[in-house]
Amino acid sequence: MKKEYSKIIYILFKKELMSYFNSPIAYVFIGVFLVVGNWLFFNSFFIIGQASMRGYFSLLPWMFLFLAPALTMRLWAEEKKSGTIEFLLTLPLTDWQVVLAKFLGALVFLFFSLLLSLTIPFSAAWLGNLDLGPVIGGYLGALFLGGSYLALGLFISSLTKNQIIAFILGLAACFIAFIVGADFVLAGAPAALAPVMRFLGLGSHFNNIAKGIIDTKDVIYYLSFMFLFLWLNVRVMEKRSWK
């Protein structure tokens, strides 16, 4: 039973992953990600003259802010628009299986894009003396942060059948979740709320990991964030409560 359960997820996951490469999305996404990423890095790399990726990892969350909702916007919206949702939800599957397969498909695609961007640390290490700790932390943090964006974006996509709306709302939601713990927001927030907001923000946890400090607290935070939105997504599917 257990094996069957994960096998179904795997079959769906495979199809989801394939559909990125069957459409221009994969190539546009990877192209933009690599060009912008490399430009951001090397632009400052030679000016600062330091083999460090700190600047890169402070910009990465902002790049993901646009790229993650672009990946998730169609995942539910398109199924609803084209009617394939009726096929998908009348198959003998649980809603969790479908949600997990879509999430994992997006996550693995993001992982793949990150792998391709490893040319940046390799050239930095070749040109100078790169401190590996923050780099590994940065990539790990990027994966956690990206996963959180994807879970949130996927949930937003489940609420609408319009991809553009899914993208814009996804972008706004990710932006709020990222920014809520940032210093300049906290400065204006009531003192009692500030620690809570710092804890809730996706960004503050990313900064910790990107410094190379991998704290279980941050990891648990990211995992719960992802779980929360995947769970909400399942609720939406169960209730068939979309527009």
Partner: protein, 244 residues
């Protein structure tokens, strides 16, 4: 859960099915059953509740009240088992446009749980039954409407379900295609329980064992095509009078 002991041989049993969208009553206490091996034609004007009924039978939508038994299993409590018994072709044929016909149907076979050794022969079989040999390696978004319909039908019969639910499988097809799809339904329907909805009345007398006519979410008439023709003169007359 209580095991359901059934002495009847009805494959689908619908009891007091009601569906509301907000204040809007779409299905009003609908009850009927379909016997094993029967081909049931589902008639009614647009908006009568045909599609809604089918979406509830296939567990796509929940019912507001009432129950549906698929081979004795309540779909609300056993939705996975019930879904496994049904092949469903919705009105908007659900195809992944970016896939090739072969890719799509292989995916359907896999997700329907066919074992590895059975997938290949079954795909071959379905390809022949549904006449898909010519378009097998073509992307779905390049297919004509007739072929899309056939791919949709292939999807629905892939796992050899006992029950087929087909929502207007012949709309938008040309007369030749209509005859082809109709023959296909008749062939497939020989050993299956089929419910299909349609607006084409000649199709009904050609394919159906029994007809149910619904209007405003209620059953307004039923019988064999022969009976209806006898009582009302023609099927068209029956439809006109019962759904006025």
């Amino acid at each position: 859960m209580n095991p359901v002991v059934h002495t009847y041989n009805s494959m689908i049993e619908i009891k007091n099915l009601t569906k509301k969208f907000g204040q809007n009553l779409v299905l009003d206490n609908l009850s009927f059953s379909v016997a094993k091996g029967e081909i049931l034609g589902f008639l009614g004007p647009n908006g009568a509740g045909k599609t809604t009924t089918m979406k509830i039978i296939t567990s796509f939508w929940p019912a507001t009240s009432g129950s549906i038994l698929i081979d004795g299993l309540d779909t609300a409590a056993n939705s996975l088992a019930a879904k496994g018994q049904i092949g469903y072709l919705p009105e908007t044929v659900p195809l992944y446009e970016d896939m090739k016909v072969s890719e799509y149907l292989r995916f359907v076979a896999e997700i329907r749980g066919l074992t590895k050794d059975k997938i290949k022969p079954r795909l071959k079989e379905v390809r022949t039954i549904c006449g898909l040999v010519k378009v097998w390696h073509r992307p779905i978004d390049e297919l004509s409407k007739g072929f899309r319909q056939r791919v949709g039908l292939a999807q629905a019969i892939m796992h050899q379900p006992n029950i087929l639910i087909l929502d207007e499988p012949t709309t938008g097809l040309d007369p030749n295609q209509i005859v082809e799809i109709r023959d296909l339904i008749k062939t497939i329907g020989r050993e299956k329980t089929v419910i299909f909805s349609t607006h084409i009345l000649s199709e009904v007398s050609a394919t159906c064992d029994r007809v149910i006519i619904i209007n405003n979410g209620r059953i307004v008439g039923q019988g064999t095509p022969g009976e209806l023709e006898k009582n009302y003169g023609s099927l068209e007359q029956a439809f006109r009078e019962l759904t006025k």
